[in-house]
Amino acid sequence: MAEVRLENVCKSFEDVKAVDNISLHVRDGEFIVLLGPSGCGKTTTLRCVAGLEHVDKGKIFIDEKDVTDLPPAQRGLSMVFQSYAVFPHMTVFDNIAFGLKLRKASPDQIKERVKEVARLVQIEDLIDRYPYQLSGGQRQRVALARALAIDPKVLLLDEPLSNLDAALRLQMRAELKLLQRKSKVTTLYVTHDQVEAMSMGDRIAIIRNGSLEQVDTPERVFNHPENTFVGNFIGSPPMNMLECNIVEGSNIAIGNFTYKLPESVVKAIRKTKTSRVILGIRPKNITITKDRRKNAFRAKIEVIEPIGEELVVHLTVQGKLLTVIASPTQDLRMGEKVWLTPDSRKIHIFDRKTGKNLL
């Protein structure tokens, strides 16, 4: 168990900045998820921690020890690769024992430890097989067992679930989380899947273009996104973003409509002195009604997608697209004109220029 600290880490490939000045403190025993769209530098960040990439600038510490210039072997961590990288010419036993043999453990110790971790990931019966005799999910477990066998200080996981089918992915997601809770190993987990990130991470580090956008608990990331990117990236369907202007102090204009902001929001915005803002509101936090209510605006239903427990309703407000999640008990028709009331406690106001959350 250990903490991991990244200080101003930079890594470029030719002229592409893959990691751009990232500082991150992962606490002892924490499960932190590096989340971002593909190509954002999250895997490169992980590889820098592993020592597979040499950082251009900055420092990496594991437990106060500067490991920036240490080769991967001396960092005391282990990694599960996206492709699993299970050794094809070794049995499952030899795969799991690989790191233990390098650490000169005695044959009895090795046998016992391999058995132990094999049981942990439920592959005791496959111990004598070769990887080509295993399914994708089983190979994944072998890779995990191999990584856990050496009792790593830090466990690095690079999109470990992305090659599994949907059902297995759900199952492994829960198992992985449980495993981490039990072993209490500090874990860095890379994924582009926000649901995975939300469900597994103690904290989520959202990365875009090599920079950290926000590092927070899943709850905070969802309810208090620091900027439009995070607001958009987390949550499905994504947050609605409406460009609007602040008028008369406490109202904002969305096209022809004015929407009255609550007092606390007005106070916060007044300090920043900007009037060109973006109103962010999650699809779940808008109510559709047929009759006019106070502080509501008019919209036209374009498409309704029934997805079982809820309806995903796409509407247009003055030519702008909006998504609302409604209950299937509501009687809604395509083409119908309705009234939308955003929950004023759940709105976000972003600066239009910087994208920063003003609240």
């Binding site: 080769p71 072997a73 492709s83 990288a85 094809p88 690989f98 070769y130 050496i150």
Partner: protein
């Protein structure tokens, strides 16, 4: 489906016969009494088994020495080709560097110039270097013939082994070299065996350069070619047989590795 299998078998039999029949005839000819070879008509199988012509060939001047030279040259060629081919192929498949594609093409340009053009300068240079008429000298020129293929083949073999295997090994506690030895090397062993066979045969078969660059220390093919005109049938059969056997033995030794590993490679 069944028809395809039948056709496949027929093709395999034809190809096998194409290779095997000359080998069998040479073997029979070698162990047939000398006078019987000149009889006409004669049966396929000789009247009695004799190793007279084999022994007389083996004992004739220079043959054992030539055989020794040939084997040494071929083994050296294999060693040199692997020493150049494996690191070069590995670098081509794993690292990005400037002039990579130029290098790949450049390797092949070494085969652009026919040895006949280079013959006289080569002899001159060899004499200057003091490696004319030496085993090492012949091995060098054979290596020049073999190494471009060694590089290109090993390049594609290494490219088929994912680099993540080495990275995984490194994270688990290996140095870069240790990771290579424990993961990639066992996986590419069959391919390296194939390169070895290839280099061996290139060297074993090569006559022209070997003739050119030696005087007393001839390799077996160079020796035989030099004597080809003024020789008898039994001598010819025996020499052909002599050429065949080491080659077949070598391939059989290497083949074991080739077959044992292909089954599990790269899954």
């Amino acid at each position: 489906m069944k028809k395809q299998i039948v056709i496949c078998y027929i093709a395999m039999v034809i190809i096998s016969l194409f290779v095997l029949v000359p080998i069998i005839l040479i073997t029979i000819g070698t162990f047939t009494p000398r006078l019987e070879l000149y009889k006409w008509p004669r049966g396929l199988i000789s009247s009695r088994f004799t190793s007279d012509s084999f022994i007389s060939f083996a004992q004739s001047y220079g043959v054992m020495n030539g055989l020794k030279n040939s084997i040494m040259v071929a083994v050296l060629t294999v060693v040199f080709s692997l020493l150049i081919g494996i690191p070069a192929g590995y670098s081509l498949s794993r690292f990005k560097f400037k002039g990579k594609s130029l290098f790949t093409v450049g390797v092949l340009t070494t085969r652009m110039f026919p040895i006949a053009i280079l013959a006289v300068p080569l002899v001159k240079i060899y004499m200057g270097l003091g490696i004319y008429d030496s085993i090492l000298g012949v091995a060098f020129i054979h290596t020049i013939f073999a190494f471009p293929f060694a590089i290109l083949i090993s390049h594609s073999i290494f490219a088929s082994v994912p680099g993540e295997l080495e990275e995984a090994a490194m994270v688990l506690g290996c140095s870069r070299l240790g990771a290579f030895r424990r993961t990639t090397l066992p996986l590419v062993a069959p391919g390296i065996a194939a390169i070895a066979i290839f280099a061996f045969i290139i060297s074993w078969n090569e006559v022209f350069a070997a003739t050119l660059l030696t005087l007393h220390n001839r390799t077996l093919p160079a020796l035989i070619v030099a004597r080809l005109e003024a020789t008898t049938l039994d001598f010819l059969f025996a020499s052909a047989f002599f050429m065949l056997v080491p080659c077949i033995v070598f391939i059989f030794i290497i083949r074991k590795r080739l077959l044992r590993m292909w089954g599990i490679i790269l899954r």
